[in-house]
Assembly symmetry: C2
Homo-oligomer: 299 residues x 2
């Protein structure tokens, strides 16, 4: 769920958040990777949704199986980033009159394949006519009440990690082929205590900024430590969207244990600081520069 | 959830149903008003989704508050038709570059107002760029395990009822202003034992045909008994879509009790018969004519 941040120019998020009706039972509504809702004494229900539009999130000529795959993968990534496991999906699809049967079947095939890989059941949907191809997935998940990781828990001295190389995801087609970091996230929430986590959909600087804002802290990121995809510049690793890696923070003590783990390759990129110190990048000469958010925006 | 039936010309439903990955725990997947999923010992989780596209489900000039209202109302209607109560919604919206802030705010206001009326919490969403305005709502619900009403439970001799007048919903704007029949449905499942239920989104003949197909039965509908909206012909009452009334069946004994209830005005329109007798309309002279499904289709 890329939340409602994309509509920045309208300044609508605040309005929508204010106007959105919320009953008391809601644990976390608008403003994180997924909503967190009551399920039973031990578990929370997670709910997220993502819309992909032809010409915006994928090109007309794109492999339809990969498009279907991506439509579900982005929501699995959101559930993972909350510390949950994905469960049930409903798929809406708006189809142009000119669409070929084959292409639509391929979308469902790609979607169904990744559903199977991640144990997601596709339980319904809606199929309508549309000018451009539009796919919307809504996905539920579950998490143990103790496993939930919000964006708002980072504290000064926490260590910042990222799960993989960043930048150029459109060029490399990683934006279509990425593996949602569910295994990483489940390992983290079961064996460590991450204080905050988010998936990188809009770009490291944008998405980490959400964590900093929600947690009311700052951060110093080490330029040299940012893992870059082959051929990606530092600026691209910071700002390109759709890598769908996880960025997370661990309290100092937890980080000490975590550094010794061999299960997954992760990258330590910086440290959380007090809010007043801002969101800074330490360059190769040790100089601190202010990070300006340049993540992908829709408007 | 208008399921995947709209894509009739592609003959895709079968393919999608076959290709859709489903885990064993799913109680009811594709093919009813909503999916039915395990929640706890006493309750089921319901999940549905509906997509509205500008120029297909509403016109460019339509009142935006009513458009937002409809986007959620159609999903509330689906939850009601399963015997459940609506709980949590996520809203995706695809917005053209040319859209005015005011119009978008109005959509959310209309949506939020009906959310409040029906106790639905709007807990998240996605906001993206799109050529035409597209709104997708995914809605969860809950039902007592005993309250679930599928399309597949109608039996010969069951009596067929409908909750309100049908036809001309586009002309009268009922398709935007209808009240989801949650109160009717909850009264029905708490006090009677409906054997099957569906909401009328595609037209009485189309939607009742889904019940007949799923239940493997036929029906005889009395032409004179079909409640018609002012100015609507019998053909329109049978075929016009988007009335969002409920059509439901009650076993003969239950129907006897139900006829005496004074809480809601409902209309008895016919009787379930054996499958081999088909889906028939009894005209004013008592003659039986085969009903041909003419509900709204997208393709």
């Amino acid at each position: 769920m890329r939340s409602l941040k994309k509509i920045g120019e309208f300044g609508l998020i605040g309005t929508i958040k204010k106007s959105a009706h919320i009953e008391k039972e809601v644990i976390k509504g608008i403003g994180d990777d997924t909503a967190v809702l009551p399920l039973d004494k031990k578990r929370n229900l997670l709910l997220t949704t993502d819309m992909l539009v032809e010409g915006v999130h994928f090109s007309v000529k794109e492999n339809r199986k990969l498009v279907g795959r991506k439509a579900l993968a982005v929501s699995i990534s959101d559930i993972a980033a909350m510390g949950g496991v994905p469960k049930f999906a409903v798929v809406s699809i708006g189809i142009p009159n000119s669409a070929c049967e084959r292409g639509i079947k391929d979308i469902y095939e790609g979607l169904s394949r990744i559903a199977k890989e991640f144990g997601v059941s596709v339980v319904g949907g809606d199929t309508v006519q549309s000018k451009k191809l539009v796919i919307n997935v809504a996905l539920t998940g579950e998490s143990g009440k103790k496993d939930i990781v919000l964006r708002s828990g980072a504290k000064p001295d926490d260590v910042v990690f990222v799960t993989g190389a960043l930048g150029q995801s459109l060029k490399t087609k990683k934006h279509l082929k990425f593996i949602p970091r569910l295994a990483h996230a489940q390992y983290l929430v079961k064996c460590f205590k991450p204080s905050a986590m988010i998936d990188i959909s809009d770009g490291l600087s944008s998405d980490l900024a959400h964590v900093l804002n929600e947690s009311k802290v700052g951060a110093v990121i080490d330029e040299k430590a940012i893992p870059r995809a082959k051929g990606a510049t530092v600026a691209q690793a910071l700002s390109d969207g759709e890598d769908f890696e996880l960025v997370f923070t661990l309290p100092k003590k937890e980080a000490e244990f975590f550094r010794r783990q061999k299960k997954f390759k992760v990258y330590e990129i910086g440290i959380i600081v007090q809010k007043k110190k801002g969101f800074m990048l330490r360059d190769s000469k040790g100089k601190l520069n202010k990070i300006i958010r340049k993540g992908y925006g829709h408007f």
